[in-house]
Symmetry: C2
Subunit: 236 residues, 2 copies
């Protein structure tokens, strides 16, 4: 499961994904590595904007009216989540553009990576990275101060239209014998960069204690990712 | 006001826009030229989808986070209108993709024309064509059978976020001495094609009576277009 990961970016210290890692129910103390509230909101808001941008591009690029319908609907749901987080930032008296700005370059760079050679690849990228990063930010929300955490977790956990997107991709895979293996490869290319975006949200000192602290979270994220790829009949 | 129009597409018979045309309050009997309900809904739904696609492209293309915010919000409003019309089609037991399909080629071709050399041009195109076509479809809604007309007119007449879009463009024009005249030219290039899309919704026999019947409507549409360009300090 971890080979692509260590192979891809050997220079960056990444969470080790050993098969001995305990199951997903383990409680992890995120206190030491939690981002502050505003950066958390800024990054989460920008990631939903990224998801909106990626999905609306897919909606525009496909010729299938049925796919346009499903994908534009999912884009609208990402936009609503983005606007919900923006409202949370405004409620605190902060300026959303200022709070998001520190993440613009990283996330726009990330978004550029998600654009595949056709709309099906871009759609898989949106599904995969959106699912993984939503899971991650929901998980982090538990460490936020006050009552904002549950509100954000509820918002991020609300419908993303993923079922419809999976349905569209399953239909495409069934209709094109070559597509499945191409998408499986494409998914493997993207997961490393997605995990790096997640990792960038954390205050990591680079010491072994921090790495051990976050390892179970990343193991969970990858397990959920694998289940999503399975749901498409693709090997993660 | 009509020179560009007759100059641009001399081969196509277009509504004559004489300066003697009576003012906009004149009552026009659209009965003879009204589209049937389903084609009306299909074309109106696809045009909102086009507006969503064009605006979300602008949101993705601009680097300004403040503009991204305003433009993605307007894209979301167009998507909501699209979804509202789709719901109306479903309520009648029809399949939205089937009902929209006859308009796909024309409107996707139209959408390709709206993509300018930068996001400001594309944004002007969205504002201008969205405003004009919304006005037109609201006007036509009065001729629909049953209670669907008022519902659609209300939906199309609800907030499109145009004020915010105007604000963004005004800021861009104020900051760039060359932009105003470039946008004015760009707007003139697009208005003919936009009126042709509107015209395509009507059952026109090509006789003089039909042309005289619809002329006041097109005069109104162009007057409203001119006011929108004025609001940007641009010559229509």
């Amino acid at each position: 499961m971890s080979t692509w990961f260590t192979r891809r970016r050997p220079a960056v210290e990444l969470p080790r994904l050993s098969p001995r890692t305990p199951p997903a129910t383990v409680r992890v103390d995120l206190h030491e590595v939690m981002p502050d509230l505003l950066p958390y909101l800024g990054q989460a808001a920008y990631l939903q904007l990224e998801q909106f941008q990626t999905l609306s591009r897919v909606a525009a690029d496909t010729d299938s009216l049925a796919a346009k319908e499903v994908v534009s609907g999912a884009a609208g749901l990402a936009l609503s989540k983005h606007q919900g987080i923006i409202a949370e930032i405004r409620r605190r008296g902060d300026e959303p553009a200022e709070v998001m700005r520190p993440f613009a370059e990283e996330i726009e760079g990330f978004r550029a990576l998600l654009v595949g050679s056709d709309w099906r690849e871009t759609l898989l990228a949106a599904l995969m990275t959106g699912g993984l990063l939503d899971d991650f930010f929901i998980r982090l929300a538990g460490g936020l101060p006050g009552d904002v955490g549950p509100r954000i977790a509820h918002l991020l956990g609300s419908d993303s239209g993923q079922e419809g997107l999976l349905e569209v991709l399953r239909g495409e895979i069934a209709a094109d014998a070559q597509l499945g293996s191409r998408l499986a490869m494409w998914g493997r290319r993207l997961v490393g960069d997605t995990l790096l975006v997640a990792r960038s949200a954390l205050h990591l000192s680079g010491n072994r204690a921090d790495e051990e602290r976050i390892e179970p979270i990343f193991t969970e994220l990858i397990a959920a990712h694998t289940r999503r790829m399975d749901a498409l009949g693709l090997t993660a």
